[in-house]
Amino acid sequence: MDKHNSSELLNSDFSLSKNASSDSLDSDSKSSSLNSKHGQDSPHVVGDIQVLDGEMVMGSARDVTYLCPYNGPCRGVLKVTNYQIHFRPTDVSAQQGILSVPLGVVSRIEKVGGATSKGENSYGIEVFCKDMRNLRFAHRQENHSRRGIFEKLQQLAFPLSHRLSLFAFSYSESFPEEGWHVYDPIAELRRMGVNNDMWHITRINDKYEVCDSYPAIWAVPAAANDDLLRAVAAFRSRGRIPVLSWIHPSSQATITRCSQPLVGFKNLNKLDMVYYGMVYYGMVYYGMVYYGMVYYGMVYYGMVYYGMVYYGMVYYGMVYYGMVYYGMVYYGMVYILWHGVSGKRSREDERYIQLIMDANAQAHKLFIMDARPSANAIANKAKGGGYESEDAYQNAELVFLDIHNIHVMRESLRKLKELCFPQIDQTRWFSGIEASCWLKHIKCILAGAVRIVDKVENHKTSVLVHCSDGWDRTAQLTALAMLMLDPYYRTLRGFEVLIEKEWLSFGHKFQLRIGHGDERHSDADRSPVFLQWVDCVWQLQQQFPTAFEFNERLLITIIDHLYSCRFGTFLFNTERERVKEEVKTKTMSLWSYINTNQELYLNPLYWGPSSLNPTNNQIPYARPQQVLVPVASLRLIKLWKALYCRWNPTMRQQDPIYQRTRELVALRAQLEAAVAAAAGEHAARSQRLALTPPRVSSPLHHTLV
């Protein structure tokens, strides 16, 4: 950043410091919805800090310097509540610089420097966040001034690791809208026309006994009885059998989802064992090397001195072993493919798949979309998993969609964060985007969803989607394909239903992937799978700006509260756990919050029927575009700067279009009302004129009355 820019920075409003004014209607998406409570809800002021219902100040530290990467150091008071980290500058003129970060976004807290470190601001705390930023606070070096606040932070940011409960259970605000009622599985299935001849609702999983990560209510082929379902569950990884996600209103082609079949290998001889062992252990070790690198990379990030040497040594060692392991995997794989050993079969599973195919009279084929790259799918055989062989499943065609696993995605996002925060490396911008591969992964997911849409819409063929466990990539694909196929999901309510259904009820492991309140920041189960899906939705929004009822701000708000732990929506892994923990009664739903202020999240350019007042059919909007087919080309897939670069105040947003359109739409509404009023008056008058006997009084007289 050059000199000239830095002077501008001081003037420009700083997005970290959103307060009431910047959260008004017309600032679209950049604002952080995390702090929007100041603008929307009834704020409670405790001292100089605005708190939510159920929020308490738990600790504070004076004389702290916040080292803002953009505006420079700033002195003030740091407070910790059970919900947020709050920093207020002592300098009154810098009130813009109030910082309020929910503890839920904290991924890791570290001490920087020691009591004897030299240099200004070298002693303090660094907070690493899940939302693509790091916060650095400097403390005075006397009296262990950081100790108290550090311990408080540790405890409050990671309540689950300290046997405390999450903030969502203390939060008690009442909203006029009840978000827990947004999604009713029966109503949603009925909307799609289930029960019908071919599909019916089953409550076999009412007690979550058949599959503990699935919802209580399933839609399955009507011809399948409970025994068959149980038998299929035994053959599918974690009992996640194929159930209905979406059904085409006219062609009855369906999207169903499940986990991988437990194919594995049968009759292994000694040599086979060796090779499978090679593949499996090769992959495991490779993975370890890889995680090791990531871990060390993170630990030594920022420690330039001897860390470099160490990092380098680790690095080369790892490259070497990585190559060895890669070789093992490779030769093992060649052997397996060469010998083509078949795995186990399940007649019940095959029959069940046939039933799904038969439920669609239009096609004699079923596409099984395996979201993984074929190599990963093969490797899974070593663990007893695998994929459907086309020999065993008649009329089924298997397609691999080449979407990588959660570890690759996590690493990709880490690289992206390095590129976007704190400073954007201007010379390496494009090469950095390319090297992160993030957009390529987005492209793969979009392309996969487009393939599903193509099969369902254009070929009227049913599609079965799975990956390994059927809760990460599968959810991404089915939810995205449904969004493209069904305009209902592109409305605000429909989108909430979509998330509730495809992500929450089908058991995407939010707790594991996000790690709410858990201090194990390098846990291998963490991954930005849901974030990636929201990015895909944003890409769709970008490509079809008039097709969505909601705007970018909704997506950013959802991402913010994915981490914030203020609402119960994204807590826990499965529906079963949520029922057990009584989430619906003990916490608030994010949708309550959003639907209470829904005008903030509406897209003024939306060209279709509103979900908010479905009875109001008089608005002469045209039929919405039914199917969106995005182009999965990097020429069109853009980096979501409003999300990934949003802490950087120099990144400008394209708000004016929305603002201006909103103004025009408001003007239109004003005029419509005025015209309606004038027309009504006019009609009343002419009616009176018509009724009035001409001789008794003049029209003029009447108008005066």
């Binding site: 350019l605 909007y621 201006r660 015209v675 008058r685």
Partner: protein
Amino acid sequence: MSGSDSMVKSVVFESAGTGIDPKRSFANSSIDQGRLITMALVHHAFPKRHHLLFAYDYREPYYPTLPADMNMFLRPADWKKELERCECPHWRITCINGTSDGFMPTAGETLIVPSSMLDYSLIDTARLYRAGRVPVWVWGRPDGAALLRSGETLQTEASMTAESIFLEQVRRSHPKLRQPRILYLCGGQAGYADAVTAPLPALAALHASYNKLLDLCTPTTLRGFWEQDSQYYSILDSSKWLRHVAGCLALADEAAASLDANDTVVLVEGEGVDYCAVVSCLTQLLLDPHCRTISGFQSLIQKEWVALGHPFCDRLGLLTPTNPKDQANNTERAPVFLLFLDCVWQLQNQFPTEFQFSETYLTTLWDCCHNQLFDTFIFNCPRDRELAVSKFLYFKKRHYGFHRDFTARDLTLLTHLTTQSVENEGEALGNFVLRPVWDWGEQFSEQDMSMFYNPLYAGGKLQPLSQRMSRSSITSMESRLERLRPCAAPPAVELWSQCYERWLLPLDAAGAGRVQYHIYNVAVLDQIHRLKEKMVSLSIMSRHSTGEAEAGALKRHLVPRFYPFSCSRAQDAPTTLDAMQVSLIDASQLLDSQSLLNAPD
């Protein structure tokens, strides 16, 4: 035949840049036909002399209908008008460049210089500048700061002194006598440049950069398309085009910031006809809302590009050198004007409500640079244009006894010609009419032209609601000079999709793209308009029973992404998916070397 094959290839490639569908080839036609078409194409697409350009052949009569508030900068009076518009009293008009003492051969007859600068000292000083390009005034603010553009000085002792004397005159033209700020845009004087943010490339480098971009945007096969796609960002980066765009924006922002602080700015570059024009125009767009209207923008181009002599003919490569070797190392050719339009598009992208014209307008303007029908973009300098007109008049006089007395200026020009050459070109010149491109009605229907207007433009009669409510009319003068502050960092600069990618069929989709903003807002504006009319009719003709049509539904027609340019299939045809889209995504490319097969799931 092989020779002509390669020629065909070059024809195809050439046309790609100018907007003809590059997918056509001669694979299916017979050999003779191919040759015939090739010959015709070569003849008309690669004219070797200026008088072979289509503008000389075009026989349609021309009736000028330019908007009244457009300034063509042809006569001294036009410049006077501009001086008055900018309220700059400390500068004077000199017409000396139009006389036999002219020192700046590539500029028009009118120049604006400091009032205190005498003509004879101008002539003296001009000898020390490249191409005689002394600093000339192009824009100013009422409070004194002015924008000047200039060529580099020759590297001699005398020129240093002359330059400082000239700059002293410039300083005195500022009412507060402030030292002018000098911005070196490009070239060898970086030695004493004070703050060059991002030096702009030499013309040859710019041309090479454009060619790389062109390659990226004109894949010849679907396979090529997806192959490029897999490494899109590195190809884009290696073209450096967006960096050059960002560089121009940064320089313009810097110049605008100085002018905003009431400092005079002098832009300096080689011969002062290329990047000077780009940066100077952008600076004015940032500062002067008038330039952001359509007629203001057209006046701006007339002033900076046409009147001050940007060599369009050379830069666009309108004439093909007879010797193919020259063609290869033609250093004059460079898409400077496109670079400018791209920068304007970036500004539009960042400030969507500030411009009266739309991106379709800019794209169309770029297309018009190549149709060789209008005089605006086919000459190297105003003098060439005058020469062409004079030749035509001379010819008419000789052959038809055309009654018009030559001015002294015409005669001066004609003395440079031998009679012979006029005779040769006479036939071609027989119909030559100056036909500015700005008469859009010559090319487009009303409906087409409606695409040129930005429905989001707030500077016109429709003020933003919030502004109308909060601001009183007194502050309107202040807001007139409120400058735009663009973000010139590379991440903020995007590829101008409509211009470069509009012929890429795989990218097209109904209901997609930026054009939807346009269509939607036009529809809303239309409704507002009709509602207003209805209000009026309701209030005036309150006695009449209303039998009129309703204010109207939002008529939606689904337009494709690159509307109005796309050559796409029927709109409602179901989009079948080519398997290419997915099958070519090579899984191995998704993985960096470290992460391959890292773990079973």
